[in-house]
């Protein structure tokens, strides 16, 4: 059972994922630390995950939030693929965030796929924590 004991408040569950071949994981790991410090339950996938693997993890771990971290420049195709899967599997209740090396001009397109918010390099950790806390209803 993945549920918290009754004495403790329910925690927001997040998967932070590194899709594709990109090996830049510093940003993803920093976000993991920040979310944990903010009291969330965070699962980090490690590098070189396929979108299928990430979606499976999100289902198995029953997360509220899926966070993709992408630095290689392939954020558009990877995010599109993820959102297709999210929709196909009926996981649209999940908050999907994309972070990393993302040009501002691509943000609207990412959102048109159904991504909830985009946090390009330079975003404050506090903003990410706040956004999740505001949007996720437990």
């Amino acid at each position: 059972m993945k549920k918290d004991g009754p004495a403790r408040g329910k925690k927001i569950r997040v998967v932070i994922a590194k899709p594709g071949l990109d090996g830049h994981d510093t940003g993803a790991k920093v976000v993991v630390h920040a979310l944990k410090e903010a009291g969330m339950e965070v699962i980090y996938t490690g590098l070189h995950r396929t979108i299928d693997e990430i979606v499976t993890t999100a289902v198995e771990e029953d997360v509220n939030v899926i966070g993709l971290s992408i630095y290689s420049g392939s954020h558009l195709p990877l995010s599109r693929k993820l959102m297709e899967q999210v929709k196909a599997k009926g996981l649209t209740d999940k908050l999907v965030l994309v972070g990393g090396n993302i040009p501002y001009r691509d943000i609207d397109e990412l959102k048109s796929y159904g991504v909830s918010e985009v946090f390009p390099v330079g975003s404050k950790l506090g903003e990410i924590v706040q956004f999740i806390q505001d949007k996720v209803e437990l």
Partner: protein, 536 residues
């Protein structure tokens, strides 16, 4: 008693945790024996530099990272850089190539040619170096888990150009341990990966004596968040691991230590960086002499490429990166580097544009030819502060190395995820210190321009380039002798299983145009794949 004025000053603490006084004098260095601890340039312990005359005799080598889309495009860039006076090439590969995947592999989709050139077979390398006689240049191949295959291709290319292997100069990055810590292009588990490095060193020491089979990278460890002290300490522990592997094959330390090269990072506090390199040279000389019993001074010197780190650059106010780059080059020269590779001003978000790469090259040329940086050796040596700080850095690096050795050495420390955790913890601390303003980044947390909206540019991804690359791979596969390939791969598998040196069978395989992916697949079957420790 009245408070002295200096008590009112704000504390200055370096990233490495060293507290800095407002002024240094003779008392701070009175315990330093100038002969033992500092010495003469070109003499043990090499604190002041690895050559007696340093840049007075020959300025540092200038090298910029380049490599785009296809081998043919890359070839154009190479020729242009050489025409501009660059003295060596530094090759960027795309991610599928770095991870041993062919361009037609489903997992390579969207990544072919994106961050560097795609190499599937020897044919692609032939295109990249067409018209460039490779005995006239020194080439750095930025590739790690499949470095053995790229070396084999480069040697096959030398054969085609009629160049004997003992005239081939260059480096394969080939530092797999730092990939697990920082850069993320790993494939196989730790131990077989280190064996591959051993095979390459053994092969090169017999056949390609001017080639550096690996370059130990503190750079990426620092870029992933480590402090300057951790950067040095972890790089040394990694180098020690490789040395032990090579020694276990019965090769004497003096037969290969002279070719070990390091790749270090520069950003942050100027004095801390200079002291880091001076302390590093001294410590490395001691390790090689005392721990490994080397006799030749050539074995003991810390050869390095050091350039501005992308981690110091900012997306905000991108022109500031031009200025930062120039200061990093200055630090690099003051630190006595052998080779300099500057991050270009657009490197915080992409591989360098032509204009940015040229500006980096000119920055180094201005330093060397206009500013007097080549006049005299180690000009900061003898400064009370620099000598004191060098000693402090030495002490801290030694402590950090002891921590790794307590864990059982670098292999243990990486397999268990200890180093990865230490570095990511440090990255988190650094991010928070930047967010709080404790570490100042101009344009990011000070002198911010509120209405600034500079967007980032990627080198445009070209689906057509990817399609062409796949077509080319297809062509090569159709034209080659399939039976030969099969035989060569079977020979490789046997060598991989029995522990024979894999270099000769890899050479056989690449010469009959076996693909990088086919060769990697053989290794995956024999060695398995690395399981990343993901607990943070």
């Amino acid at each position: 008693m009245k408070k002295s004025k200096s008590d009112e000053l704000k504390d200055v603490v370096l990233e490495s945790g060293i507290k800095v006084k407002s002024v240094y004098g003779p008392d701070d260095v009175k315990d330093l024996d100038p002969d033992q601890e500092i010495g003469q340039p070109g003499e043990y312990p090499f604190t002041r530099g690895i050559h007696p005359f340093m840049y007075r005799k020959r300025p540092w080598t200038m090298r910029q990272y380049s490599g785009f889309g296809t081998a043919r495009e890359t070839n154009q860039r190479f020729k242009w850089l050489l025409e501009q006076g660059q003295t060596a090439l530094n090759v960027a590969f795309d991610l599928p190539t770095q991870l041993g995947l062919d361009s037609d592999d489903p997992f390579a989709e969207e990544e072919v040619g994106r961050v560097g050139m795609a190499i599937d077979t020897l044919k692609d390398l032939e295109d990249a170096f067409a018209g460039i006689p490779i005995d006239r240049i020194s080439t750095s191949l930025t590739i790690n888990p499949v470095a053995s295959v790229m070396l084999a291709m480069y040697l096959a290319l030398a054969e085609q150009q009629g160049i004997p292997w003992d005239q081939v100069r260059g480096t394969t990055q080939n530092d797999i341990l730092k990939e697990y810590i920082g850069r993320g292009t790993w494939i196989f588990p730790v131990k077989p990966s280190i064996r591959l490095i051993g095979d390459m060193v053994e092969f090169c020491s017999r056949n390609v004596p001017k080639f550096n089979p690996f370059s130990v990278c503190g750079y990426h460890i620092r870029e992933s968040g480590a402090t300057p002290v951790q950067e040095m300490a972890y790089a040394f522990e990694i180098a020690i691991t490789y040395i032990e592997e090579v020694l276990s094959r019965g090769i004497a330390i003096d037969d290969f230590a002279g070719r070990i090269a390091f790749n270090f990072d520069i950003h942050g506090n100027l004095w801390e960086q200079v002291a880091k390199f001076r302390a590093g040279r001294k410590l490395w000389a001691k390790i090689i002499k005392e721990r490994f019993g080397a006799g030749s001074p050539r074995s003991m010197v810390l050869r390095m490429i050091a350039g501005g780190g992308g981690g110091g650059l900012t997306i905000q106010q991108p022109e500031n990166n031009i200025v930062r780059g120039a200061y990093y080059a200055l630090i690099s020269a003051l630190s006595g580097t052998q080779t300099m590779a500057l991050c270009s001003f657009d490197e915080a978000y992409t591989i360098p544009s032509k204009r940015a790469a040229l500006l980096s090259l000119r920055t180094m040329q201005i330093l060397a030819d206009e500013m007097g940086l080549t006049d005299t050796v180690d000009p900061l040596g003898g400064s009370y502060y620099i000598e004191w700080l060098t000693k402090e850095m030495e002490r801290k690096i030694t402590e950090c190395m002891e921590d790794v050795e307590k864990m059982g050495g670098m292999i243990e420390a990486v397999e268990s995820g200890y180093i990865q955790r230490e570095v990511s913890r440090q990255a988190y601390i650094r991010t928070k210190r930047i967010e709080s303003g404790e570490i100042v980044k101009v344009g990011v947390n000070k002198y911010v321009m509120e209405d600034e909206k500079t967007d980032i540019e990627f080198h445009p991804f070209n689906q057509k380039v990817a399609e062409e690359q796949k077509k080319r791979l297809d062509e090569v596969k159709r034209q080659r002798d399939g039976e030969n390939v099969k035989k060569a791969l079977a020979g490789l598998e046997k060598a991989a299983r029995t522990g024979e040196n894999v270099m000769p069978p890899i050479l056989e395989a690449v010469k009959c145009y076996a693909t990088l992916g086919e060769i990697t697949k053989v290794f995956k079957e024999v060695f398995g794949e690395f399981k990343e420790p993901i607990g943070l």
